[in-house]
């Protein structure tokens, strides 16, 4: 009973809360980093250096008036943010934050569950989020959200093909779909997959940016052309849920890239005996540090690069990333057979 229900439930609550806090502070970090990139200070008023800004934002969104436009499809309009947010959160169920450790004399694994189709689960659940976007745009019955949701879904599915194809070569290296096994494979093969699969790493990173609608692929929410994107008609808490989903997806992409390419919870050079003292640092710390690097990279890219044009975006997805992904897969397969 305890192992079956209570411990998973406890882990779920911890992960959910950690995600929510991470998301709110991600927003602050983004505002701060972009402000620094532009020689501004960013939020400074709420708390010292603006550290309480996320809490103020959360309260504000809670007590904001929530409007359902008269022409909107009422139930779908409410369901869309939920459909968008739930997949973004439940992906964390298979992300390993650390190995199995002893805690209070009990063996506790630092992941919620380890299923043998972990990576497939992540890819499929993450793509359910598209429904939230398309339903939001359609049910709003307003021109800009509809256009934006069409754009967003076309973009998401285009890049999903490239990312999924690229992930096949990682599975080829690891020989397993389980996230825990993929990390173990990197330990056993004495190499982080970022060095074995540098092309795949770059492709997944670009695809990840596009999948999360981040700059330079933030066309679905291009403020200048679409007045905000698929959530133009949303306000208050339902808008907040979309926001939450978007940032939660960013954290998911960083965690997945960390697990697949940077050895997840493994310390740097895990097989070098001289560096064994790195194991004294708790494993989840390494995971968080590596994920944070990617989150920072996402913000950095947003502060640096201009936005793509839509035809450029589609060309990059279909004519550059997909051939490269197929090529990478073929080369990986051939090299692997030659090394056997």
């Amino acid at each position: 009973m305890i192992d079956q229900v209570l411990i998973p439930l406890l882990k779920i609550v911890i992960v959910l809360n950690a995600t929510l806090v991470a998301v709110t502070y991600m927003v602050l970090l983004e505002r701060k980093v972009i402000a620094w990139a532009q020689s501004r200070l960013g939020p400074m008023r709420v708390g010292p250096y603006g550290v309480l800004q996320p809490i103020a934002d959360a309260i504000k969104l809670m007590i904001k008036e929530d409007i359902t436009p008269v022409r909107a499809d009422k139930w779908v309009f409410t369901a869309a943010p939920i459909i968008s947010m739930v997949p973004a959160l439940i992906v964390y169920a298979v992300i390993p934050f650390g190995p199995t450790v002893s805690l209070f004399g009990r063996k506790v694994s630092l992941y919620i569950t380890d299923i043998n189709v972990g990576l497939l689960y992540i890819v499929s659940v993450a793509s359910v989020g598209v429904y939230g976007i398309i339903l939001a745009g359609y049910s709003s019955n307003s021109k800009y959200p509809l256009l934006a949701s069409l754009r967003a879904s076309a973009q998401l599915i285009s890049y999903e093909v490239a990312v999924t194809l690229t992930l096949v070569s990682v599975i080829l290296m690891a020989g397993s779909l389980s996230m825990v096994e993929i990390v173990n494979a990197q330990y056993n093969q004495h190499v982080w997959f970022v060095f074995a699969q540098p092309f795949a790493f770059v492709l997944v990173l670009i695809g990840g940016l596009a999948e999360t609608n981040r700059a330079p692929f933030d066309l679905p929410e291009a403020e200048q052309e679409l007045t905000g994107g698929f959530h133009t008609e949303y306000s208050g808490m339902r808008f907040a849920l979309f926001f939450l989903a978007e940032y939660a997806n960013m954290i998911v992409v960083s965690s997945v890239v960390t697990t697949l390419f940077l050895g997840g919870w493994l310390p740097p050079f895990p097989n070098v005996g001289a560096l064994h003292l790195l194991y004294y640092v708790p494993s989840w710390t390494w995971f968080l540090i590596k994920s944070f690097l990617f989150l920072y990279l996402f913000i950095w890219i947003r502060a640096t690069l201009p936005r793509y044009r839509y035809d450029q975006l589609m060309r990059l997805g279909w004519k550059v990333l997909i051939p490269l992904a197929i090529l990478n897969l073929v080369v990986t397969g051939i090299v692997k057979v030659m090394l056997m």
Binding site: V13, M62, V337
Partner: protein, 118 residues
């Protein structure tokens, strides 16, 4: 084996519950002062003349079709990649044939202009 999925089902329940709870809870807190103008769809101040759900570009449909084809092909590669160590050379050649057919279709779509956006 199936017991590994129980935490996922729990997570779905908790996440959905959380989402519904926040919407209901904020509904108790926020003001409800609506008027006609406020409830109109956003259209830069002009009253919307028609329904927004109009016909849209055929390209979106085309992209969706291509996605279905390519994504299904990719799903076939997942089990192959997992047992690649057992299949070795045989598996590689089999998959090369499969990928070759995929690439021929891809080349056809490219030449037909299905991948062009404008």
């Amino acid at each position: 084996m199936l017991s590994a999925y129980i935490p996922i089902a729990m997570f779905v329940a908790v996440a959905t519950g959380f989402a519904i709870f926040t919407i209901v809870f904020s509904n108790l807190l926020h003001p409800h002062k609506y008027n006609k103008v406020k409830l109109e769809p956003y259209e830069c101040g002009i009253e919307p003349a028609t329904d927004a759900r109009d016909r849209y570009s055929i390209r979106y449909y085309l992209v969706a079709m291509l996605f279905v084809i390519f994504d299904v092909e990719t799903v076939f590669m997942f089990p192959w990649a997992v047992i690649f160590n057992k299949l070795a050379l045989f598996g590689l050649i089999e998959m090369m044939v499969f990928i070759f057919i995929l690439v021929v279709g891809y080349y056809y779509a490219w030449q037909k202009g299905a991948l062009e956006w404008v």
